[in-house]
């Protein structure tokens, strides 16, 4: 019994520390965004909550915040849907059709996700330049789709593999073509997995930094992470309050998504890394 209680104490302690660890910076961000002055932790400075930072960020022309937000949302959404659709096709082929060297192919594709982005970016930039797609939506969406494909494929394969083959055979006998079987049967049955994957790609694209940094120039296609990273003050003083306000506005939607769909996200992540 002593072990029970000491275990319980350790557990509670660890849980509290984990919470503080994970939430600490987040809360600090929110507090700063709500404060008129970023130095409110100093004993002499008060904490006066106000929404001025938010107002400044949202309505300031030069901050381009809304433009960045719009860009991020559209680019991420399109990339997510496109990636999952194309990866579904491939996942279907890999789980249903007997092709030699399937496993090696899949693992090799997964290995691509381990490449350092920096080793692609220069040539990718040249490519996009040549196509005239720097600072445009396609210029960012297409690289995001390609880059998300390996992991999406891996996750979808693990979900598709669990859909019974008999369903395919039955659909085939009922007259459905392979594509019809994919659309009408496999995708609906594997819907939770497809949704998880879409969510994960969306979050990835939304949070991505390096590609966006190099492939965008200004508010016309720049995404939020880059916007916030480069947000400098006009007068030399870094406007922490406004930066944190922008950060809060950015992270709140992603955090809400994560909270609502945490089960799906966790499932998707673990499928991606651990073969069950």
């Amino acid at each position: 019994m002593r072990e029970e209680t000491s275990k319980k104490i350790l557990l509670t302690l660890a849980a509290i520390m984990a919470t503080i660890f994970c939430l600490g910076p987040f809360i600090y961000m929110v507090l700063t965004s709500l404060s008129g002055n970023p130095d409110f932790l100093l004993p002499t400075k008060p904490f006066a909550p106000s929404l001025t930072n938010f107002m400044a960020v949202i309505f300031s022309e030069s901050a381009h915040f809304l433009a960045y937000l719009r860009n991020s949302l559209i680019i991420s959404a399109v990339a997510a849907v496109a990636t999952v659709f194309l990866a579904s096709l491939a996942a279907y082929a890999l789980t249903r059709l007997s092709l030699p060297g399937k496993t090696v192919l899949l693992l090799s594709i997964l290995a691509l996700s381990m490449f350092p982005p920096i080793s692609l970016i220069s040539y990718l930039f040249k490519l996009m330049s040549a196509l005239g797609w720097v600072n445009t939506y396609p210029g960012l969406i297409l690289p995001y789709v390609a880059w998300s494909m390996p992991l999406s494929l891996w996750i979808l394969v693990s979900y598709f593999a669990q859909v019974p083959r008999d369903l395919d055979r039955s659909a085939g006998i009922d007259g459905a073509s392979r594509f019809q079987t994919l659309i009408k049967i496999i995708l609906p049955v594997a819907a939770p997995g497809v949704f998880s994957t879409t969510l994960l790609v969306f979050i990835f694209a939304f949070n991505e930094f390096l590609f966006a940094l190099m492939l965008t120039v200004d508010y016309r296609s720049r995404t939020i992470p880059v916007g916030i990273a480069l947000f400098e003050g006009i007068h030399g003083q870094i406007p922490w309050g406004e930066i944190m306000a922008a950060a809060t506005l950015t992270t709140i939607p992603v955090v809400i998504l994560t909270l609502i769909f945490q089960k799906r996200i966790v499932q998707g992540l673990t499928r991606g890394a651990v073969k069950q």
């Binding site: 080793s119 392979r178 979050i203």
Partner: protein, 309 residues
């Protein structure tokens, strides 16, 4: 013969004729068609750029000079470049410190989450938050935290009775700051993966061990760790590769400073790109790529054993 012709004509369509032409099973042809878009994307937007970077590294590619083939000159210059080795040293130290930290903290969190208790789902959601926040954004948050005059870090040191620390202005301080920021961001991922590994362990083994009178530590060492090994290895592999190519957090938090002491290799290459020197930057990138490739090939090798589709 005649009967065959009639049958075939009735069924002839483009996929039919194509597969007959290539004497491929129609089914196999369809299979490749499904794979084609993905392979196309990956080839054009991942493999091709990598190849291109390779080729770039063999050229002198500057904005104000005509580009020309210089062979391995860039590489030779790199090997003689002190700041390059600096960045390698930093990156190596960074990997050696942050990865074990993430995995250990992740394991602790995973062990907590593996138990059933009220609020478990809430805790899991909380744990996911650092993962959900964009790295660039978390970089800025930590930039504020480490602010010398009024940041939360120095507020804490003040509470502990220690003087204010110049985090971002000293080599050691910046190193610590960067490690903490990255560990904060990446521990959730390690925790989630390890949690899945823990959950996969047959609970009956623990019950058996308890009946055999093993205590908590013994159960952990003799059951949990050995059975968690494959997942641990995968986690370490993934995290190491990610730590090697770290960019976002460092760019935002320290920009590679102070004085280039936190210049990760990715960042080092980036500064050359930003200056327009694609040749040199490409060469650095290729070196990083080769190291990462080594790790991913190791992963393929490990994963091949006992995996069938």
């Amino acid at each position: 013969m005649n009967r065959m012709k009639t049958t075939n004509r009735a069924n002839s369509s483009i996929p039919e004729r194509l597969s007959k032409m290539l004497s491929l099973d129609r089914e196999v042809l369809g299979g490749y068609a499904f794979l084609f878009p993905l392979l196309l994307f990956i080839s054009v937007l991942i493999l091709l750029p990598v190849l291109g970077t390779f080729l770039d590294s063999l050229r002198r590619d500057l904005p104000y000079l005509p580009g020309k083939f210089v062979g391995l000159d860039n590489y030779l210059a790199i090997f003689r470049d002190g700041s390059f080795w600096n960045s390698v040293r930093f990156t190596t130290l960074f990997v050696l410190v942050s990865v074990p930290l993430e995995v250990i903290l992740g394991l602790i969190i995973a062990l907590v989450l593996n138990e059933t208790f009220p609020g478990r789902t809430a805790l899991r959601a909380v744990v996911l938050i650092p993962w959900a926040i964009p790295a660039a954004v978390s970089g800025r948050i930590f930039e504020l935290i480490y602010n010398y005059s009024y940041g939360a870090a120095n507020y804490l040191t003040h509470l502990l009775g220690v003087g204010p620390v110049n985090w971002l202005g000293t080599d050691l301080g910046a190193f610590a700051a960067v490690v903490v920021a990255d560990v904060w961001k990446t521990t959730p991922f390690a925790a989630i993966i390890l949690l899945a590994g823990l959950a996969a362990i047959d609970q009956d083994l623990y019950r058996q061990a308890q009946v055999d009178r093993a205590n908590f530590v013994q159960r952990f060492l003799k059951i949990t760790l050995p059975l968690l090994k494959p997942v641990l290895v995968v986690t370490l592999l993934f995290r190491t590769v990610d730590a090697l190519r770290v960019f976002d957090v460092i760019f935002v938090l320290t920009g590679g400073g102070p004085g280039g002491s936190t210049n990760a290799v990715s960042l080092f290459a980036y500064t050359y790109y930003a200056a327009g020197d694609f040749g040199y930057g490409a060469a650095v990138s290729v070196l990083l790529f080769v190291v990462a490739l080594g790790f991913s090939l190791t992963y393929i090798k490990i994963a091949r054993f006992g995996e069938e589709l």
